[in-house]
Amino acid sequence: MASNYPPPFDDPVEVREGFLCPLCLKDLQSFYQLQSHYEEEHSSEDRDVKGQLRNLVQKAKKAKKKLLKQGGDDRTDTGAQERYESFSYGGVDPYMWEPQELGAMRSHLSDFKKHRAARIDHYVVEVNKLIIRLEKLTSFDRTNTESAKIRAIEKSVVPWVNDQDVPFCPDCGNKFSIRNRRHHCRLCGSIMCKKCMELVSLPLASKLTSASKEALASHTSPNSSPNSIHGSRRGSISSVSSVSSVLDEKDDDRIRCCRHCKDTLLKREQQIDEREYTPDIVKLYEKLRLCMEKVDQKAPEYIKMAESLNVGETTYNLEHANDLRVEVQKVYELIDALSKKILTLGLNEEPQPHPKTLQLQRMIRYSATLFVQEKLLGLMSLPTKDKYEELTEKRKQEIDRKLHMERQATLEMQRRLEEKQKDLVSRSTGAPNGEVPYPKRVSVKKSEGWLPTSSLPRQREIADPLLQQIDNITSFIKQAKAANRLDEVRMLQENLRQLQDEYDQQQTLKAIELSKRQAEEEEMQREQLQVLREKEWERELHKAVSQHSRTRSLDFREVKQHQHESGKENLNQIAQSLDLDTTQLKSSPSSKTPSPDAVQKQVTKENSVFPIKPREAPQYIRETDQNQTVLLNPFEDEADTSPVENDPANTLAGDSSQVVSLPTKARHRDKKEYNPFEDDEEDQQTNGATVCAPNPFEDNGNPFQKPVNDQNSGNPSEGLSSTNPFEVDDNEISGEDIIEEELLLQQIDNIKAYIFDAKHSGRMDEVEVLTENLKELKRTLAKQKEKSKC
């Protein structure tokens, strides 16, 4: 492992080879020794570190997971992983075959309808004909009319078939004779024997005719109660039974007809009945379904609430959830009651309902029971009030603890990298054993790392608009609750939930991006180191200065790297560092006044960092505004990096001695540091920054970021700001608008100074780059002016 990745930070003079431990750079004689050493010395260290060195992709994944957990989002893709495992053989388990579309099908409906329409027309005409005749036959007062007259009327309605044409009954085939007389159907005129003759009672006739009349007049259904239907039915039955007795007498209350006509009429009657009648079971069933729908709607809502409450979250209100629970339970009871009612429908009636009806009722009841069982089991209970408070408290602690852990992990990482860095430093300065730590430095960092913890969550929340929104909504909910508007509360809570989901998602995305960036950055570092080595001989010449600045720059890189990992803290750290910066500057007035460069630096740095922030962090900017205004002096003089502002976050203590001596040194260094190799190196770093940190500024070609980088690449706060995950996402759109004219002008002046400087020392390529930058800046300025005019 180590042999694959010879540590890049070797002593510049001798490139070290062999089995070097990637963490402490100790040279171990063999692979096995290295392995055992690694296991012994570094096994306790975070796995992520190993992962970084081993496999970039893997590391990215881990970082993602880690951050996922931080966001309280455990919906990791373990399921997906398991699924992948089932593909391990190369083929696919038939149970896992990807879903397929619905198979082929072919509709015959249009064909069917065509045939049916032809047939239906015929049928409808026939039925209507019968009804019209029936109406004619019943339109006069039959009881008070002589039978001969009735006969005449009947004959006029439909022409009767000639007796001679029909020697046999067409239905039963019996021969007609004196004893077996012919009878005519009054509706169609056909002939049949007495046995085959049917009768239509007057009530039935009137029902049929009136129904069709009403249907024609308006589509409101007639108001005949089930009783009247029964009456009419019974009537028809009794009339049939009385047939035998009345034989050939006058048809007072009935009309003779053939079997076919009667059939048609009865079908018609049935249709009429069905149209009007909805059985009880349907009514009950409809209610039942309504309840089930309600449950389907409410239960998930409740479960969401209960889950959230049971882990002690404060998104929902406990009482509120309780109300909902009661509501849902009531619906369940209703379902149970309704289905029971359906089950027992008609059981007490005589005669007993058809077995199929009973079966239907049983099945409905069964499915309702299944439904309740399934859903009710999922209906978890709510914590009691006390319990809930306890839970909330617990969760709070849990979150605190988590945060604490995270901090510690970051810190640990920081420390380790620090050590590593130190190693390198000591190596480069010729120290034989890089393992001896600088206790002073470490302690400083530790304390520094700890500081922001207390204020972290708050600031973080405010930094993100989503979180702000969440805050807002939470307060809305409070207000709404106070106003006792429960509907609104519910809505808001739902809203809140969505927002939180959204936020979680964003976090995940950011985490992924972050880890990617990290990986790239590491790559960059390696390249840079290569360059460093190449420049080694030059370094020999400017040993004192160059060594110093190089180590510094390396240092920054390292810090930057691990600070990426703790992206969330960035804002804090910026604040921190700035605070430290300014206080430091203030506390040493000697350094402040005589070194305008330093302050100028500070200004540019702050300018570059803060203009983007006001949107998300208004409070924060207010805090820093003071500093800014203090520092915002339009210093004309151009300067190069001085350790003070370079390294506020990292090496304050270590540098403090230098700070004192700086004012005098700084000006000298102006020129000294602009020696070619040093500059190259810094250029490199600039590139590094641009590549590794796809910061919207740089990507958008924010014109003054590049020149600043030229100088500032080692500045940790800048590195931080450029990789702050919150900003990356949020500023993308707003980044350019915020550039202020004043800053632009300032920057243009700066660049002009750079160009002058570069020309002086004869670095033509740099001059070229800078001129280009200058042009770009001017263009932007013009645009800006246009905009502001508009």
Binding site: Y89, G90, G91, V92, D93, P94, Y95, W97, P99, Q100, E101, L102, G103, A104, M105, R106, S107, H108, L109, D111, F112, K113, K114, H115, R116, R119, I120, Y123, K267, Q271, E274, T278, P279, I281, V282, Y285, R289, H354, P355, K356, T357, Q359, L360, M363, I364, Y366, S367, L370, F371
Partner: protein, 574 residues
């Protein structure tokens, strides 16, 4: 390519199309089993389908508040029943779906019967086969061939089933068939004919590599259905018989009432889905784990589950448990019964010899073993016959064939005439004369080396050394090495690339052992999906009845010893 899903989708679509409200599902005999394979009652109840009726049942009441979903095969009788139904409709509205192509004239006569305008939908949904597993289907046809040629009615049903399968999977395949089998050729031609006739239906989006339909004949491998199986699904089918996912346990001594008939469906029984392809010993331990898991939750009873008998007692003592895990008690019962049967019939020993007969070529040892087992009183006449049948198939032409001697042994053992006749019948059916390819002796050098290596390594599991012949065929097909001479294409075009979607159909029925083989092939071969189908799913009993000699064998289980054997004793992996 998932056949279960394909049918299920059809049924779901039918139910969805009919909208909300109480529904009745009107089916015929065949569609009832088709639907029951993919949907459980509780599942379908949730979709408001409360009644399941046979169209031909007379005992139906008029219930105008119900919607009727008719899923029917387009047979003459069904159309006639439906016409009667529509003349006097019992339900308010009818959604009619036919499981296959219906003729225009039938549609017309139905339309004319619908005087009351109750029909709201007439469609063809091609769920015309029994989906057994996602990759296995059956047509539930027994005795599809009369001797060496098709029964015509069965041929058309088989062709219908196959075309319906193709339509439901939206595949328009190239067809290959087994040259040595006349029925295979006939069927291939019939399918092709339907595809040509209904070209509009088969107009699917072309895939890069066209799907392939391979039609085989059971007679080419009569061995596989005769072997005892040790994987769960196959074993259940062999020993108890699975019919449309249902197992009849009523013959099991002391069975409780609610376990008389159990349903084993991988669709909604997780344990079954996970274990159906595992061998018996593994299932025993899995069930044990499951039960111990439950016991751990009830720490009061520190009872150790040593045997399946213990487990059974355990289940019975915990009515609660029974309720909670009806599945487990079901499987305990089934596995217990399997284990009982296995020991009762001395199946381990029998199976070992069977495997030897099927996979090895050592005549004298095989002969000796068969004779030895024939002497064993524990071996049933059924198993004895089976051994002799295997022997007869394998050593049909062997120089020292001593089949007559074995037949005498059978007779001495008291095996009835009808069984003894089976031996000659099976040779007639699947003997060397019939077979297109050689089942037993490897043909080419590679195969010989393979077998040699296998011999060197020793067999991992004596009870599962047999690899169905189908494996070889499919393996070659996937590698593009299947000989065009033996398995020609129907029509001029041939497949140049490696096939991706393969549908294998075995005339005369597939087995669960083959289902397992295809399952494993699917899992191990990237980019290839294989669906296996057969006129039926075999076990030995069905295979024998296929031979036309025995309708269905009944062996009386109750008379035999009823001791429940320890599951730990069954260790097929030695």
């Amino acid at each position: 390519m998932n056949v279960v899903f394909a049918v299920k989708q059809y049924v779901s679509k039918m139910i969805e199309d009919s909208g909300p409200g109480m529904k009745v599902l009107l089916m015929d005999k065949e569609t009832t089993s088709i639907v029951s394979m993919v949907y459980t009652q509780s599942e379908i109840l949730q979709k408001e389908v409360y009644l399941f009726e046979r169209l031909d049942s007379l005992n139906r009441e008029t219930m105008k508040h119900l919607k009727a979903i008719c899923f029917l095969r387009p047979t003459k009788e069904n159309v006639e029943y439906l016409i009667q139904e529509l003349r006097r409709p019992k339900y308010s509205i009818y959604y009619v779906y036919f499981s296959n192509v219906i003729s225009k004239s039938d549609v017309k006569s139905l339309a004319e019967a619908d005087e009351q305008e109750v029909v709201a939908e007439v469609q063809e949904f091609y769920g015309d086969y029994i989906a057994v597993n996602p990759h296995v289907f059956s047509l539930n046809l027994l005795g599809c061939c009369q001797g060496r040629s098709w029964d015509l009615a069965q041929l058309s049903r088989t062709a219908q089933g196959l075309t319906a399968l193709l339509l439901s999977l939206k595949k328009c395949p190239m067809i290959r068939y087994q040259l040595s089998s006349e029925p295979a050729k006939r069927l291939a031609e019939c399918v092709k004919q339907v595809i040509t006739k209904e070209y509009e239906l088969f107009d699917f989006r072309r895939t890069e590599v066209p799907p392939l339909l391979l039609i085989l004949d059971r007679s080419d491998d009569a061995i596989t259905p005769l072997l005892n199986q040790w994987t769960y699904q196959a074993m259940v089918h062999e020993l108890l018989g699975i019919n449309n996912n249902r197992i009849d346990l009523s013959r099991v001594p002391g069975i409780s009432k609610d376990l008389r008939e159990v349903v084993l469906s991988a669709e909604n029984d997780e344990f079954y889905a996970n274990n159906m392809y595992l061998n018996f010993a593994e299932i025993g331990s899995n069930i044990k784990n499951l039960m111990e898991d439950f016991q751990r939750r009830k720490p009061k009873e520190q009872q150790k589950l040593e045997s399946i008998a213990d487990m059974k007692a355990f289940v019975e003592n915990y009515p609660q448990f029974k309720k909670m895990s009806g599945t487990v008690s079901k499987h305990v019962t089934v596995v217990g019964e399997l284990s009982r049967l296995a020991s009762e019939r001395n199946l381990l020993e029998v199976s070992e010899v069977e495997q030897e007969l099927a996979c090895q070529n050592d005549h004298s040892s095989a002969h000796q073993n068969v004779r030895r087992l024939l002497q064993n009183p524990k071996v049933t006449e059924f198993d004895a016959t089976r051994l002799v049948m295997l022997y007869a198939l394998h050593y049909e032409r062997h120089s020292s064939n001593s089949l007559p001697g074995l037949m005498t042994d059978l007779k001495n053992k008291g095996v009835s005439e009808k069984y003894r006749k089976l031996v000659s019948a099976v040779v007639e059916y699947g003997g060397k004369r019939v077979r297109g390819s050689d089942l037993f002796s490897p043909k080419d050098a590679v195969a010989i080396t393979k077998q040699f290596l296998k011999g060197l390594k020793g067999v991992e599991n004596v009870y599962t050394q047999h690899q169905p012949f189908l494996y070889e065929t499919l393996d070659q097909l996937i590698k593009g090495k299947l000989k065009d001479g033996q398995y020609p294409y129907l029509g001029p075009s041939t497949l140049r690339d490696r096939p991706q979607d393969i549908i294998v159909f075995i005339i005369g029925g597939a087995t669960y052992e083959e289902a397992l083989t295809v399952y494993n092939l699917n899992r191990t071969t990237p980019g290839v999906r294989i669906v296996l189908g057969g006129t039926t799913i075999h076990n030995t009993k069905r295979q024998m009845s296929l031979l036309g000699m025995v309708p269905v064998l009944n062996f009386d289980l109750n008379n035999l010893c009823n001791c429940l054997q320890d599951s730990g004793q069954i260790r097929p992996t030695e």
